[in-house]
Symmetry: C2
Subunit: 295 residues, 2 copies
């Protein structure tokens, strides 16, 4: 697959997904301001990397994107709510996200808290109301998503991150924070797709390991881009991690060391895919894309 084919694949899936996401939100019987605020952040663009990982895994295993649509919507709702709450003055206090004013700047803090709460709750509703998946599968996916997103997963990692603000972490500690804070919600779409497609034990194992590696790679990439990125492409100020004395892979490993670690993770990820005959798949291309991304 060429870079152009990968780009086309990502673009096609992204557009298909966003159309359905928008339709779903517009159907909810809610007040205009709450809907607007939820849509403002949900439709703010972004690469939709989690849904795309889900669709790609599903398709490589012989499934259809439709089977993963409500899981993808649920993931993106949860990812979006976490950004809205993370940007609040009580948390990271960010006024800019993806080149636009953050939710609380536009709609006020109260509505931003509620938009986040609403997206998080609606995520489970979308999944429970999915018309295609079996009830057994839905219960499994809801339990997996709640574990990945909740106190054991993302929320726990965010708390770890809050508490680490005044400390200097070593590499193991930093990895442990990121596995929960960002890793679990990148791993979930891949594991969910494997479950939906009825993957074998061996496939599930290798795909989970692949997911762990690219989850870490994604975070290392973010830390590198905070130093080397272009403010316009990223839609947020450069060097903010440094200014905020954040623990990052770059601060621990230097820029070159972080780049080496990123390449190592991608290598490992592709090694896992090779084990199950997916070394040339879209998933391998997506791993390489993470290695070379500029935003």
């Amino acid at each position: 697959m060429t870079d152009q084919t990968l780009n086309d694949y990502m673009q096609t899936r992204k557009e298909w997904f966003e159309k359905r996401l928008d339709t779903f939100l517009r159907k909810l019987p809610i007040t205009e301001k709450l809907r607007e605020s939820m849509l403002y952040s949900l439709m703010a663009g972004g690469k939709r990397i989690r849904p795309i990982l889900l669709f790609a895994t599903l398709e490589e295993l012989g499934g259809k994107p439709d089977q993963g649509l409500s899981v993808a919507i649920a993931i993106e709702m949860i990812h979006t709510y976490s950004l809205i709450h993370d940007d609040l003055p009580a948390m990271d206090d960010d006024e800019l996200r993806r080149g636009r004013a953050t939710n609380h700047i536009v709609y006020g803090e109260g509505t931003a808290v509620l938009a986040g709460d609403g997206l998080l709750t609606a995520a489970f509703q979308v999944l429970a109301e999915d018309p295609l998946l079996s009830e057994t599968l839905k219960v499994q996916l809801i339990a997996m998503l709640a574990s990945a997103a909740g106190p054991e997963g993302m929320v726990g990692g965010q708390e770890d991150d809050l508490e680490a603000e005044e400390k200097v972490l070593n590499l193991d500690q930093l990895i442990s924070v990121h596995r929960r804070k960002t890793g679990r919600l990148i791993k979930f779409p891949i594991e969910a797709a494997a479950r939906i497609a009825g993957a074998s034990e061996a496939e599930q194992m290798q795909l989970s390991a692949y997911a762990d590696n690219i989850g870490l790679a994604f975070q290392i990439g973010d830390d590198i881009l905070d130093i080397t990125g272009n403010q316009n492409e990223l839609g947020k100020p450069i060097g903010s991690d440094l200014d905020n004395h954040k623990n990052t892979y770059v601060s621990l490993l230097t820029l070159d060391g972080a780049r080496e670690e990123l390449a190592k993770q991608i290598d490992r990820a592709i090694g896992c895919l090779n084990e199950i005959g997916l070394g040339q798949s879209v998933l391998a291309q997506l791993a390489n894309y993470l290695l070379h991304r500029t935003h």
Copy 2:
């Protein structure tokens, strides 16, 4: 049933429930501060009126409290998260709740936001992982809970309430706000119990109507207590609605009018129970309790 019997019933169920709630939270593999913050608000007392409505409905229909335990835990987690977020400076900015400092005062705003997010997410995990209920039932209950708690329900009502702060509402508008803001999460435990116990169509219909009436009664009672209550019993300052120019049943109907409306709702609630032979049940006693409560 005498008042003493009702008090004993409520106390027994409350203690049984709280022990299990505590055990569940202590088992989660999370950082100490996040757990503490979640437990601080979750175990702050309160009447556990929602779980008790669920257990009572279940038992009156021939079910066992155990069958409703994870639903009850999920409801109380969601009720608690909504209080934590509601107390934030960005929302109601309250420093006192049930006689104790609010979550963000003790743990900081960032952790309070996360404790709320964590409780909301864990609620769906508890339900999905319940070992007793069938998968069909779990999917139904998760969809019902998400609808009751999310943008269509409680979160939507909270946004309505935020937007109503600068306006004067009429009675219909006030009722519409409360049906979503507090009514849906009082209705859910009753409807969930009816579903779990396999209630007939007629029973489900009357119990839903009963739930609507006591949901409204509960809110009217709150508004009355804000004027007539005892600060020590309530654990929060008296007259704060008045000071904040809030739209309440008392401000719209006068104190006597609100009392009349409260009695009317309780009458109707008991009428619904009479239709299905539950006019002398714990549920009827609970309705009367709402009429006479002092905190």
